[in-house]
């Protein structure tokens, strides 16, 4: 009836971005596609939110941003994880795991 919800779970976008960038530096669109692919299209990233989030994470010191020329002569911004970003990713992952297992326990519990 209704289309399946593809919104990124609230509060997890930062973590998804950090995780994606922990593998390799990439640009905005690449991050969006990668999240989509790995989540097997469960999550579709809103480009507007993604670009603002990248800006925010860069300001927070977790990402480094670098302008590069593409083959088509366009300016593209490549993002990579900083050391602080790695730490933040660890923190957020641990936090997320804790919360997910708590939710899982609650859902499994009976009566």
């Amino acid at each position: 009836m209704t289309e399946p919800n593809t919104d990124v779970i609230q509060g997890t976008l930062d973590m998804l971005i950090l995780k994606t960038l922990s593998l390799t530096p990439m640009h905005g669109f690449g991050i969006a596609r990668r999240i989509e692919q790995i989540s097997r299209s469960v999550f579709k990233v809103n480009p507007g939110s993604l670009l603002v989030a990248l800006q925010r994470l860069e300001r927070a010191g977790w990402l480094d941003a670098e302008w590069r020329r593409t083959d088509h002569g366009r300016r593209a911004r490549f993002y990579s994880l900083t050391r602080a970003g790695h730490k933040q990713l660890d923190l957020e992952t641990a936090d997320w795991t804790r919360r997910v297992s708590a939710v899982a326990r609650l859902l499994k519990a009976e009566g």
Partner: protein, 877 residues
């Protein structure tokens, strides 16, 4: 790290906005390109791929904008844009802007300056520990006025009171310091030994006085101020125990006061020595000492007053009293702070009131200006609302504009306040207490800034709310019938403004009339071309009364031989000079049973020729002359009021009168009354005797010189003449009698100048307000007036219409202001002299002035309206 990035990235964005914009654009553009390429790779046609990518991204412009508006620097941008817009708008209306800023500056500046100046004087406590326990004690004179007390009264109170920890009396002292350097006349105080204990400040070096220092035969000791110690003795700590020579007498330095010690009782005093009076001496019964006391902990002022009243009403044999210090009218006890500010309090409170009034007038005026301006801008606001500006946006704009205005006005106001405080200090009479604590302090600055913001917000709300209302009906821009809705509010503001201005103008008008009366007051002597200076016979070489008498005789002779001197005379007291001592009077045989009730009299020991030199007229009998010498019959001349009050219905000539503890004098003449204490106070009695017959007590005399030429050119030659007799004697307080006269009105003049400034400001503001309101309303009604003209209204009728419209609220405001002024001026009563608080002439003059100002303010726009061409408003549409 992250904070660093926040700041640097933000600043970079602010510094190079176009680059930041370009970045956002490129990032979104690149995303779009990649998305398109991705869709192409999945096999879509280029056209379909582009569309899919667009769909995914949503609106490119919106995404770019979202990215661009990220970061704190964007909020700064928005405010800056609002400010730029506000500044542009205000530049477009320079008249409005300048008037508003000046109005705010006047209101804020004046109130801040007054708060700065008056607050500390009236409300800050004195610089002593437990200052609220320090009381001033006065004897009560015949008219219920405070009178200086006698040494023996102090002695009795000190022994009998249980309410005070310490009680001290003091008098001025002007010793001449001689030694290795040139002689210097110093200001000091002779104090009873507990003086410093009452103030609660002890010497920083050395010791305080003790009771043994303060006895008749005790060796002279002195405590120095920090300033004198540094200036004359090189801040040498070894000064304690050394001797200094003061007026040819040797004094042992026993202490140096702390640097921060502030002496509110005699700000110029630099050294202190014990009184060393003995109860048996004549001077111990002279009313020339001020008294202060420190209450016991836990004791209240009322308790102390009861204690002293009980002592006053219950004499004991141990402490016999004399008729003129019998304490039968009791004693007055007030806190020292109140005592010091009592004279200035009405003037200062009036100033506070005037400043508040001016601030209110300024606020009313600005509200009026903003309303008028808003009416002019209705079309603009409506248009912007129609074009989609939200209510919040319009509100923010309006508030930004008024805050911007208030900020500019506030800044100008603070500048004005700084200047105002300086001017106030420069203008204020020297007697104004505690001038040293006056200054623009931080709390007042905070007050001014807070006031500014408050004014901005309050004034911003008015047009902002109207703008929000406009937004609700925004689909009907430029409808003119709504213009009228602001009419009643503005008329009310005009009423308020006129009323407030009238109150302020009436107050200053009354002070002006008082001043005129006061200056027209006859002092009883002729001040024209007369010079006064104080000379003295100080030092051991004049310990012999004959030596002093010879010295003064020689001085008179020397001065009389100076070219240009028409007459010269000596007197122990100088009218209006501020240091006068009252003496008790006994008439024998008594004419009135209650002669103690008549109070003290001023005693003048003068050289013959005093009356002629001062221009005091003889009323009856004869004047003192050169025949009235030591060996002659002691004679006195009394003032008219003396004769009237003490010798009613009898011939005063030939009566016997004792002054203080003197032998009886025979009254030989009656002279005119002289204003002795101040021009405003009703005359106290005076008795005149010759210096020769006055005994040896008068060693400090005033020399009065009359000239036919230039009085100020004479001062130096007269001084040289005095020094030609004895070069070691100081000559001080050189002043023309004219300047003594004008100093007597200084406090009132100070208040007057300030009130005139306020009244001028109020008049300006009221005129500007009236003019702004009326010209604005004429501009709005151009169309209506044009229609009236087209329908045949004559220019005269249109003129009458506009004038009537302006004068109605003015007349109502005058009515309200008259009521307000009648209530307000009662508070001024103590500052008025010979003028009723409801003086009809002042009220009438102010009403007439305001009517004229209002008429002129109406006439200009009315004249413009009368010349509106019937077709012009239609063209304007």
């Amino acid at each position: 790290m992250s904070l660093w990035r926040q700041v640097t990235r933000g600043l970079r964005g602010l510094a190079d906005r176009s680059r930041a914009d370009q970045d956002a654009e490129d990032e979104v553009g690149h995303y779009l390109e990649q998305a398109t390429a991705d869709h192409l790779a999945r096999g879509l046609s280029p056209e379909a791929a582009r569309r899919a990518a667009r769909l995914e991204l949503g609106s490119v412009a919106a995404a770019t904008e979202e990215l661009r508006s990220y970061g704190w620097e964007r909020a700064v941008d928005a405010v800056a844009a609002d400010l730029r817009h506000a500044a542009r708008r205000l530049r477009m209306e320079p008249g409005f802007t300048v008037v508003t800023i000046l109005t705010l500056a006047l209101g804020i500046g004046a109130s801040t300056a007054i708060m700065s100046a008056v607050g500390p004087i009236l409300f800050r406590s004195l610089p002593y520990p437990d200052a609220n326990r320090i009381m001033a004690v006065w004897d009560v004179g015949s008219e219920g006025l405070p009178v200086e007390t006698t040494f023996n009264t102090h002695r009795e109170l000190r022994a009998r009171t249980t309410a005070f920890d310490a009680l001290a009396v003091f008098r001025p002292w002007q010793p001449t310091l001689t030694g290795s350097r040139e002689p210097e006349q110093l200001e000091g105080q002779r104090v009873s030994w507990e003086f410093l204990r009452v103030l609660g400040v002890l010497p920083a070096l050395g010791r305080d006085f003790d009771a043994t220092d303060d006895r008749g035969g005790a060796a002279g000791v002195v405590v120095l101020s920090d300033g004198l110690w540094r200036r004359r003795f090189g801040a040498d700590p070894a000064i304690i125990g050394r001797s200094v020579t003061l007026s040819d007498e040797s004094y042992l330095v026993v202490g140096v006061m702390p640097r921060q010690f502030e002496n509110v009782l005699a700000p110029a005093a630099e050294l202190w020595t014990p009184l060393r009076y003995e109860p048996g001496e004549g001077r111990a019964w002279g009313h020339h000492l001020r008294m202060i006391g420190r209450l016991r902990p836990g004791e209240s002022r009322d308790g102390a007053a009861r204690d002293l009243a009980a002592i006053a009403g219950n004499p004991v044999p141990d402490f016999p009293r004399v008729a003129w210090a019998a304490l039968d009218r009791g004693l007055s006890v007030t806190s020292l702070h109140e005592d010091l500010t009592r004279a200035a309090r009405p003037a200062l409170l009036a100033l506070l009131g005037a400043a508040t009034l001016l601030l209110v007038i300024a606020c009313v005026n600005v509200a009026n200006l903003l309303l008028a301006r808003h009416a002019r801008r209705r079309d603009e606001f409506a248009l912007r609302a129609t074009l989609g500006a939200g209510a919040g946006r319009l509100l923010r704009q309006a508030v930004t504009e008024s805050l911007f205005l208030a900020g500019l006005g506030g800044a100008a106001g603070i500048a004005l306040a700084v200047l105002g405080v300086r001017v106030l200090i420069a203008l204020s009479p020297p007697e104004l207490p505690r001038l040293s604590v006056v200054g623009l302090d931080t709390s007042v600055l905070v007050f001014a800034i807070g006031l500014t913001v408050l004014v901005g917000l309050v004034l911003g709300v008015i047009p902002a709310r109207a703008a929000a209302r406009m937004d609700a009906g925004g689909s009907r821009p430029a409808t003119r019938h709504v213009v009228r809705s602001a009419g009643p509010a503005r008329a009310l503001l005009i009423v308020a403004q006129v009323a407030l201005a009238l109150v302020l103008l009436v107050c200053s008008g009354l002070l002006l009339r008082s001043m005129q009366r006061l200056l027209r007051m006859e002092p009883g002597f002729d001040a024209d071309r007369r010079l006064a200076m104080q000379i003295r016979a100080s030092g051991v070489r004049y310990a012999d009364p004959d030596a002093a008498r010879r010295y003064f005789g020689n001085v008179l002779e020397a001065v009389r031989s100076v070219p240009g001197v028409a007459a010269a005379t000596l007197t122990s007291q100088l009218p209006l000079s501020g240091d006068l001592a009252l003496y008790g009077v006994r008439i024998d045989p008594p004419v009135r049973d209650d002669q103690g009730e008549a109070g003290g009299t001023f005693r003048y020991a003068v050289s013959p020729g005093y009356f002629e030199a001062m221009g005091i007229p003889l009323r009856q009998g004869r004047l003192l002359d050169t025949g009235d010498r030591t060996d002659g019959v002691p004679v006195a001349v009394v003032s008219e009021s003396f004769a009237r009050r003490r010798l009613p219905n009898v011939d005063p000539l030939g009566r016997q009168v004792s002054i203080g503890d003197s032998e009886p004098f025979t009254i030989v003449g009656v002279v005119g009354d002289v204003r002795q204490v101040s021009l405003a106070l009703s005359e106290t009695d005076a008795a005149y005797i010759t210096l020769d017959q006055g005994g040896s007590r008068d060693l400090t005399l005033s020399l009065i010189v009359r000239t036919d030429g230039n009085v100020s050119a004479l001062a130096d030659r007269v001084r040289q003449a005095v020094w030609s007799v004895d070069k070691d004697q100081p000559v001080v307080r050189v002043a023309t009698m004219e300047s003594l006269l004008s100093a007597s009105g200084a406090e009132r003049r100070f208040a007057l100048v300030v009130f005139q400034a306020f009244a001028l400001a109020a008049l300006t503001l009221a005129a500007a307000g009236l003019y702004g309101m009326l010209s604005g309303s004429v501009a709005e009604r151009t169309r209506e007036i044009g229609v009236r003209a087209a329908l045949g209204a004559s220019p005269f009728r249109i003129l009458a219409l506009i004038v009537r419209q302006g004068m109605t609220p003015t007349v109502v405001g005058i009515g309200a202001g008259l009521v307000g002024a009648a209530l307000t001026t009662r508070a001024l009563t103590t500052m008025l002299f010979g003028t009723s608080p409801l003086d009809p002439a002042t009220f009438l003059a102010v009403v007439a002035l305001l009517l004229v100002v209002a008429l002129v303010a109406c006439a200009v726009p009315a004249w413009r309206a009368a010349r509106v061409h019937p077709a012009s408003p239609l063209r304007a549409e």
